[in-house]
C-alpha cells in the first residue's frame, strides 16, 4: 500500500479524491487527509508518505512555504501541487521548488488526477 497525504482545505475535494482513489483501486492506497499547512507539515514528518497532494493556497502555511521547508530540510517526497486556477506564476514557482507535477483542480477530471498520482507513485 502506498501512503498518500492530501493537504487541502477544500474538504469536499479532499473527500472526493480519497473516495475516487479507493474506488479505482480498493487496496492500493493508504490515504490521510489534513486541512491546513501546519498540520500538513507535521503529518509529513510523522507519516513519511510516498507522495503528497499539496494545495497551493492553504491556511496558516501555504503549499509553496511547505515546499520550501521540505527543501531546506532535504526531504525528497514527491509532491503533486494542486491549484484552483491555472496560476502560472505559482505553478512555475512550485516546479522550481521541485514539485513533480501540478493539477488545476477546476479543469482536471478525477480520472486525470488519479492517473497523475499513479505516474508519480510508479517512479
Amino acid at each position: 500500500m502506498k501512503k498518500i497525504l492530501i493537504v487541502d482545505d477544500d474538504k469536499i475535494f479532499s473527500k472526493v479524491l480519497r473516495d475516487a482513489l479507493v474506488a479505482a483501486k480498493p487496496d492500493a492506497y493508504e490515504i490521510v487527509s489534513v486541512y491546513d499547512g501546519e498540520e500538513g507539515l507535521a503529518k509529513i514528518a510523522e507519516l513519511k508518505p510516498d507522495m503528497i497532494v499539496l494545495d497551493i493556497m492553504l491556511p496558516k502555511l501555504t503549499g509553496l512555504e511547505i515546499l520550501e521547508k521540505l527543501n531546506e530540510s532535504g526531504v525528497t517526497i514527491p509532491v503533486l501541487m494542486g491549484t484552483q486556477f491555472a496560476d502560472l506564476e505559482k505553478i512555475s514557482r512550485a516546479v522550481e521548488l521541485g514539485a513533480k507535477g501540478y493539477i488545476v483542480k477546476s479543469d482536471y477530471s478525477l480520472e486525470h488526477i488519479i492517473r497523475q498520482i499513479d505516474d508519480i507513485l510508479k517512479d
Binding site: 482545505d9 475535494f13 472526493v16 474506488a23 478525477l110
Partner: protein, 580 residues
C-alpha cells in the same frame, strides 16, 4: 419831459460807466486768458512728454531701461550738459550719462561725486567704495575745458518705497533749473516710479497667489532651471524628499530620494532637451507609490524657449490600494463561485463510479454536499445582486406595519439548532414598551437579523452566549443609559455620534461574548472590498464579507443606523435602529 430826459441821461451815464467797467474786465480777462493759454500749452506739452515716456517704458520692470528712457527724453524740454543716473545693485553702481554739449572730465567727475554723496545721504550708508560701472553717451568729452558745474539737481528714483537710484541733470550755465523744470522732472520720474511700483505690487500679489497655490498643493512640485538648479520646491515635495526644514531643496535631495527607483535627473534632462512630457507610473518611494510627471517649462513670453524643467510627484498609494482591493475582491468572488461549482462537477464525476453510486450512505452524503454547494453559491449570487443594487441606488425596501418582537423571536428560534450544534446559548429580551406594530421591511430586516445571528454563532467559541435585545431610544436621551438598562455591557455612543441626533427609535442589538474585533477592523467591517480580504476575525472562518455590507444597506435604506462596538476578548455588540 424833463423827467424823461433825466432818466435817459442817467441811463446814458450808467451805460458809459458800465462800458468802462466792461472794458477793464475784458482787459483783465484777456490777460488771464493769455496766461492760461500758456498754462494749457505747457500742460499739453507735459502730457505729451509724460505719455511718450510712459509709452516707451511700457510695462517694464527693468529700472535701468526706464531710467534710460527718461534720460533719453529729457533733451526735448530741458537744457542740460549732462543728464545721468545712478542705480544701486547689490554688487555695483550703474552710472550712465548722456552728454548734450561738450563737457570736461572734471565736470563729469564732479557730477559723480555729487551723486554718490546724495545717495550716501539718502540711504544713510557709505557707497564710496562700491564699484562703478559707467557708460557715457552723446557728445564727446573735451579736455582742457574748465567749465564747472553751475546748475545741478537730483531726483531720487523710488520704487516700492525704496531708493533705487538717482537721476541728475547738470549744466555749466548758471541758474538754469527753475521750478517749472524741476516740477516737470519730478512728475516724469514720479510717474515712472509709480508705474513700476504698481506693477511690482500686482506681480507680488499674483506671484503670492501662485506661490500659495503651489505651496498648498498635495502633489510634490519641483521646478529647476536648465542646469538642474532648483527654483521651486513646495512643501509636499520637501516631505517626499525629506529635506530638513531651514535648508533649500537641491536636485541631489530629489536624486537621493529616487535612488534605485527612478532616474529623475536623466529623465528631466531628456524632457528639457526634447521638449517632451514624460509620465512614470508606480514609482515606490519610501513606502508610498507615486506617479511622476516631467515636463519642460517654457518662458512666459510668446515663442520663449525652455527655461527649465518641472516635476510633479502625485501620491497614488490609495488609488493603487483601492485598485488592488477591487482586483482581490473580484478574484475572491470568482473563487467563491468556482469552488462550489467545481465540487458539484467532481461529485457528479465520482457518482458515475458504480461502487459509490450503489453505496446508499456515500450517495446520500454526496447529495448533501451537492445541495450545500449549490445553496452556498445561490446565497452568494443573491448577495452580489443585492450589493449591485445598493451600489446603483436601486435597492428598495418595502415598509409595512409589523411586530419587531415577533420577528426577533422567530429568528432566534430559527437559529437555535445551529447554536445548539455549536454548543452556544441563544437568548432574547424585547422591551415590552415597544409598540406592537412599527414600520419596517419585514423580509429585509429578517435578513439583517439572520446575518448578525449567524455571524455571532460562527465567531463565538463553544460554551458562549448570543443575546438579542431590543429597547426604545427616546430622541435626546442618553443612549448608553438606555442600553445599560437593557443589559448591554458596552457604551454604544462611544464611537457613534449619530446617536446624538437619532429620532425616537427601536434599537436592536446582537451581543456575543466571543473573541471581539479590533478597533481598526470595526471601522472596516461594513465596507465592501475592505473587510473581506484580511481575516478580520481570527481563524479560518473567513466569509465574503458581503453580508455586513448588505446589512448596512438595508438598515440605512430604511432610515436607520447600524454599527458595532466591541472589545477584543470581551465580545461584540452589533446594533441597528428602526424609527418609530
Amino acid at each position: 419831459m424833463n423827467g424823461i430826459a433825466i432818466v435817459v441821461t442817467l441811463v446814458g451815464i450808467a451805460a458809459l460807466g458800465g462800458g468802462a467797467i466792461l472794458y477793464v474786465r475784458a482787459r483783465k480777462l484777456a490777460a488771464v486768458a493769455r496766461a492760461s493759454d500758456d498754462d494749457v500749452r505747457h500742460r499739453m506739452y507735459e502730457l505729451t512728454i509724460l505719455k511718450e515716456v510712459g509709452d516707451r517704458i511700457g510695462y517694464s520692470l527693468n529700472v535701468e531701461k526706464i531710467a534710460n528712457v527718461i534720460v533719453g527724453s529729457l533733451n526735448q524740454f530741458i537744457e542740460y550738459g549732462a543728464a545721468s543716473f545712478m542705480l544701486i545693485t547689490p554688487e555695483k553702481i550703474i552710472f550712465k550719462a548722456d552728454l548734450d554739449k561738450p563737457v570736461s572730465h572734471a565736470f563729469l567727475d564732479d557730477i559723480k561725486v555729487r551723486m554718490r554723496l546724495a545717495l550716501n545721504a539718502l540711504l544713510d550708508r557709505d557707497l564710496s567704495q562700491t564699484p562703478l560701472e559707467e557708460t557715457i553717451t552723446g557728445t564727446a568729452m573735451v579736455d582742457g575745458m574748465n567749465e564747472p558745474v553751475r546748475s545741478f539737481f537730483n531726483i531720487p528714483l523710488v520704487i516700492s518705497g525704496n531708493i533705487a537710484g538717482l537721476l541728475t541733470v547738470a549744466h555749466t550755465k548758471d541758474g538754469l533749473y527753475k521750478e517749472k523744470e524741476m516740477t516737470m522732472l519730478y512728475k516724469i520720474v514720479g510717474q515712472a516710479s509709480q508705474a513700476v511700483t504698481r506693477l511690482e505690487e500686482v506681480i507680488t500679489v499674483e506671484r503670492g497667489k501662485l506661490q500659495a497655490m503651489v505651496e498648498s498643493m498635495a502633489d510634490g512640485v519641483l521646478m529647476t532651471d536648465t542646469d538642474s538648479r532648483v527654483l521651486v520646491a513646495n512643501h509636499a515635495l520637501r516631505n517626499i524628499v525629506s529635506t530638513p526644514d531651514g535648508r533649500d531643496v537641491t536636485i541631489f535631495d530629489v536624486i537621493d530620494a529616487c535612488a534605485g527607483m527612478f532616474d529623475v535627473r536623466g529623465r528631466l534632462e531628456e524632457s528639457i532637451k526634447q521638449g517632451r512630457t514624460f509620465v512614470a507610473d508606480n514609482i515606490n518611494l519610501a513606502g508610498s507609490i507615486y506617479q511622476i510627471f516631467l515636463f519642460p517649462v517654457k518662458g512666459a513670453n510668446a515663442g520663449g524657449g525652455t527655461v527649465g524643467g518641472g516635476v510633479i510627484f502625485r501620491d497614488i498609494t490609495r488609488e493603487r490600494a483601492a485598485e488592488k482591493m477591487r482586483e482581490d475582491f473580484t478574484s475572491m468572488m470568482v473563487h467563491e463561485l468556482r469552488s462550489p461549482l467545481d465540487s458539484i462537477k467532481k461529485i457528479g464525476e465520482l457518482l458515475r463510479t458504480p461502487s459509490i453510486r450503489d453505496d446508499k450512505a456515500a450517495y446520500d452524503e454526496y447529495m448533501g454536499m451537492v445541495y450545500q454547494s449549490a445553496s452556498n453559491m445561490l446565497e452568494l449570487v443573491n448577495d452580489l445582486l443585492d450589493v449591485a443594487k445598493l451600489e446603483s441606488g436601486k435597492f428598495e425596501v418595502r415598509k409595512k406595519p409589523a411586530s419587531i418582537r415577533e420577528l426577533i423571536e422567530e429568528r432566534v428560534k430559527f437559529f437555535e439548532t445551529p447554536a445548539h450544534d455549536a454548543t452556544l446559548r441563544l437568548a432574547s429580551s424585547v422591551d415590552e414598551h415597544i409598540p406592537h406594530a412599527i414600520l419596517f421591511d419585514q423580509m429585509r430586516t429578517a435578513q439583517v437579523l439572520s446575518n448578525l445571528l449567524s455571524n455571532a454563532i460562527k465567531f463565538t467559541p463553544p460554551g458562549g452566549q448570543v443575546t438579542t435585545r431590543a429597547f426604545l431610544h427616546a430622541h435626546g436621551a442618553d443612549i448608553n443609559q438606555e442600553a445599560a438598562l437593557a443589559g448591554i455591557p458596552l457604551p454604544l455612543s462611544e464611537k457613534d455620534p449619530r446617536f446624538g441626533t437619532l429620532q425616537n427609535s427601536v434599537v436592536v442589538a446582537v451581543t456575543d461574548n466571543g473573541e471581539g474585533i479590533s478597533p481598526e477592523n470595526q471601522e472596516r467591517m461594513f465596507n465592501k472590498f475592505e473587510q473581506f480580504s484580511t481575516s478580520i476575525r481570527a481563524g479560518e472562518k473567513k466569509g465574503t464579507g458581503l453580508g455586513l455590507v448588505i446589512v448596512k444597506g438595508i438598515i440605512e435604506t430604511q432610515g436607520g443606523i447600524v454599527g458595532v462596538i466591541s472589545q477584543e476578548g470581551a465580545g461584540s455588540t452589533f446594533y441597528f435602529t428602526i424609527a418609530v
